[in-house]
């Protein structure tokens, strides 16, 4: 009797046999699935119908069940059991995930790389069954720069490099100039950046040809819009955050109304407002460029979110800071500029980074009012009669581009969060 139980259940004496048999079974199930997916050979074709597809799963489960030995003494086996094989349900999920990954690899690999085409410069080059990356290659400049004239693309590049370089100036400022850092980032930098972008990208003077904003587009427009919205919405958000915490009722309720209004409406209606309703509110004969209107609309919208983030920072400061500043005889503005805001703003940097991430993800929306940034250029390219039928490639390309940008930003904001968390 005891012998039978030993045979069915692993114990210290037969650990080795069990683990080896289990490993072999699991290995066999994996080999079966792999050969099925990659080589299209069905090792278990002798089995009837539906059992063929279930066979690797059953074999794998039995194998994992045999390998599951508590405190076997073998470190690697223990680690494996602890991580993927704690009970039957876990083992089943493990196998399902492994199998689906193996099954997905050959299909996507052959579509994206093996059968794909990238040579040539017209639709005729794409004859294979895979993706047509030629389409992306041919349209690449359009996706990046929109309808901006090809020979002037260096202007956009230069402007971006200049703006980024100016952004890093703060790191290299001399120690005695550091106190002007906030002034630089809040006032001087936006103005310089605006001038750089206006004179370089728009042109019109210094011998540069004028390019109207209707021609701007692609990924560069995404950057321009989100950049301006960020630098403008931050100071505005600060004002409303302070306003909401003010003890003057009129100012407080105006701020609350502002914040709750913008947070309550979707961005798309705000964009509609900027494009169809806002011109009605402007004086006669006063023309405002569509891009400017859109930037103003997104700025007003994001400022409300920014204000809430900053308010969170202000609220998390201990009361003692306010009391201490007041007891030194500081007034409202002195207290906020020298004591409260420097501490609160440091706290909200991760939150602001998150707001900015949301802003970048929202910019493709400007497509609905007719500004052709990346999503808009894709829609344009998709309906081009010479390039019909490549929507998939286009959207996968755009998704990858945005994913890389947003993922990098979210990782960065996560790092910031970790960095500032430990300091307090």
């Amino acid at each position: 009797m005891i012998q039978t139980i030993n045979f069915l259940k692993p114990n210290r004496d037969n650990i080795k046999n069990y683990s080896i048999i289990g490993a072999c079974l699991v290995l066999f199930s994996l080999i079966d699935v792999i050969s099925n997916a990659f080589l299209k050979i069905n090792l278990t074709s002798f089995l009837p119908g539906s059992l063929t597809s279930l066979f690797p799963l059953i074999i794998g489960l039995i194998g994992l069940n045999m390998m599951r030995i508590d405190y076997s003494g073998n470190k690697k086996l223990d680690l494996l059991n602890k991580n993927i094989n704690t009970n039957n349900f876990n083992a089943l999920l493990t196998l399902l995930i492994l199998f689906s990954i193996i099954k997905a690899i050959p299909q996507s690999l052959s579509w994206m790389i093996l059968d794909a085409t990238i040579s040539g410069d017209s639709k005729d080059a794409c004859t294979g069954t895979g993706a047509c990356w030629t389409y992306i290659k041919v349209w690449f400049r359009r996706f990046m720069y929109g309808m901006y004239p090809n020979e002037f693309h260096w202007r956009i590049n230069t402007a971006f490099i200049l703006v980024i370089a100016l952004g890093f100036v703060g790191y290299f400022m001399k120690e005695n100039l550091k106190k002007y850092l906030a002034l630089y980032y809040v006032i001087i930098y936006p103005v310089i950046a605006y001038l750089v972008i206006y004179y370089l990208i728009s042109g019109g003077s210094f011998g540069l040809q004028w390019v109207e904003t209707g021609a701007w587009g692609g990924l560069s427009l995404t950057f321009i819009v989100s950049f301006f919205c960020l630098i403008f919405c931050f100071p505005l958000g600060m004002i409303f955050a302070l306003g909401r915490r003010s003890n003057l009722p009129a100012i407080k309720y105006i701020s609350i109304c502002y914040i709750e209004f913008w947070r309550g409406v979707p961005l798309i209606t705000v964009l509609f407002m900027s494009s169809v309703m806002f011109p009605m509110f402007l004086p006669e004969d006063f023309f405002m460029d569509k891009l400017v209107r859109v930037i103003i609309a997104i700025t007003l919208f994001e400022a409300a979110y920014c204000a809430e983030v900053i308010r969170g920072g202000l609220q998390s400061l201990p009361r003692g800071q306010y009391d201490a500043a007041k007891s030194l005889g500081m007034g409202y503005w002195k207290m906020h500029i020298f004591v409260i805001l420097p501490q609160a703003l440091k706290l909200v940097i991760p939150g602001i980074a998150n707001t900015f991430l949301a802003l970048v993800k929202d910019t493709p929306l400007i497509f609905v009012v007719g500004l052709a940034e990346l999503a808009g250029m894709l829609a344009l390219a998709k309906t081009n009669p010479k390039w019909l039928g490549f929507a998939m490639e286009g959207y996968i390309f755009a998704s990858i581009v945005f994913w890389i940008i947003c993922y990098a930003m979210s990782k960065y904001s996560y790092n910031l969060e970790a960095k500032y968390k430990t300091e307090r």
Partner: protein, 383 residues
């Protein structure tokens, strides 16, 4: 005196500033509208709309009024939000729990799912599903049946329709079951508090929910039939399914994108909520002799839900607002029907955009108010 100046001057200036801005804008709008010969007013709402909407929940045709068109749009928005909220909650809870799994593969797959769908702009996801993925589906005549009676085709998803007879009796029975459950729960609570007796409330509740509606079938004259979609030939190469309900591809793309995108945020809320309950609570509950089920139901869930629900409602609100992206793929939601087509036809930009914004604002503020009330209610009352 000095204090009064300090207190009132800024407020007066702020109010003056707001009034001036609004006055300036109104004045401009007045002159602009006079010049273009447009008059301000909401009379157009009762006029005949004379445009058609492809998909609507209520009866609607071109001879109905603009107000009804507004209602059609609003209902479509609510429909897509409702379906997406249900799906994203289910997905979000599964993924959120999976992120806390002890299984290395499950944990990491869930983490990658979140990172993947969260970092792609929603508009691109909608476009991807609508223009790329759903366009690759088979034509109606080549489609295979899913679950035997439903057909997923490039023209939409066809599902059987339910044909009810005496539906109201059935609904009354359902209502009666719900009332009975509430009464039962109260009674069970009272019994537990006064005599310490436990009744398996859940079992009884499920039983009531099944038995009462079932009785209505047997004795109330309620009957249910399914109308199964059938393939019909329109012309030589064009086929269509008739009968049943057809969900347009726009709706499917929108629901897919919205629920996959929002589920990542819900998953993060769920994870944060479960992680937020300290381990000591679980151990303490176990040590006073509660069973694992009771620990989960009476100790962990009430505390985790307190952390989970507020940010999750926020995500539902975001989802509802994000459903306005439907306009980009021509799903007839509030923005497309009202701020798009109706605005194009009437030219009443100010009225229509403000009505649209106010509608969303009302939805948001209502949910926010309910949320605040709920938060106050579940707040830990410290003594």
């Amino acid at each position: 005196m000095n204090n009064i100046i300090k207190r009132y001057i800024p407020q007066i200036l702020a109010i003056l500033f707001v009034v001036l801005i609004f006055g300036f804008l109104t004045l401009n709008a007045q002159t602009n509208m006079d010049n273009r010969g447009i008059d301000f007013g909401f009379g157009f709402l009762s006029q005949e709309s004379s445009f058609d909407v492809q998909f609507s929940l209520i009866e609607y045709s071109g001879s109905d009024s603009y107000a009804r068109a507004f209602l059609v749009g609003l209902l479509n928005t609510l429909l897509v939000s409702f379906i997406s909220i249900i799906i994203c909650t289910i997905l979000g809870v599964i993924i959120g729990v999976a992120r806390l799994s002890s299984n290395y593969l499950i944990k990491n797959s869930a983490a990658w799912y979140v990172e993947f769908f969260r970092n792609i702009p929603l508009l691109l996801q909608i476009f991807f599903w609508y223009y790329a993925a759903l366009r690759a589906l088979p034509m109606p005549e080549k489609a295979d049946a899913w679950f035997g009676v439903t057909y997923m085709t490039v023209k939409g998803y066809y599902i059987p329709a339910m044909v009810w007879e005496n539906l109201n009796v059935f609904l009354y029975c359902g209502l009666a079951a719900i009332i009975a459950i509430i009464v039962l729960r109260n009674y069970a609570n009272k019994l537990r508090d006064t005599q310490g007796k436990q009744i398996p409330v859940l079992l009884y509740s499920v039983g009531l929910l099944i038995v009462l509606p079932l009785l209505s079938f047997l004795f109330g004259g309620v009957s249910l039939e399914f109308e199964i979609p059938e393939l019909k030939k329109l012309s030589k190469i064009s086929y269509i399914y008739e009968g049943g309900i057809s969900l347009p591809p726009e709706l499917i793309a929108l629901v897919l994108a919205l629920s996959l995108y929002t589920s990542t945020f819900v998953a993060e809320c769920v994870r944060a909520g479960i992680e937020g309950v300290s381990k000591g609570q679980k151990e303490a509950a176990a040590s006073v002799g509660l069973t694992p089920n009771q620990v989960l139901k009476l100790v962990i869930m009430p505390q985790a839900l307190r952390i989970i629900i507020p940010p999750t409602t926020n995500q539902y609100l975001n989802l509802t607002k994000n459903s306005s992206l439907a306009a980009a793929i021509a799903y007839p939601d509030l923005v497309l029907v009202f701020a798009g087509t109706a605005l194009m036809q009437t030219g009443k930009a100010i009225e229509i955009v403000s009505i649209t914004m106010l509608t969303y604002l009302t939805i948001s503020l209502t949910i926010a108010a309910v949320m605040n009330w709920y938060n106050k209610k579940i707040e830990i009352k410290e003594k």
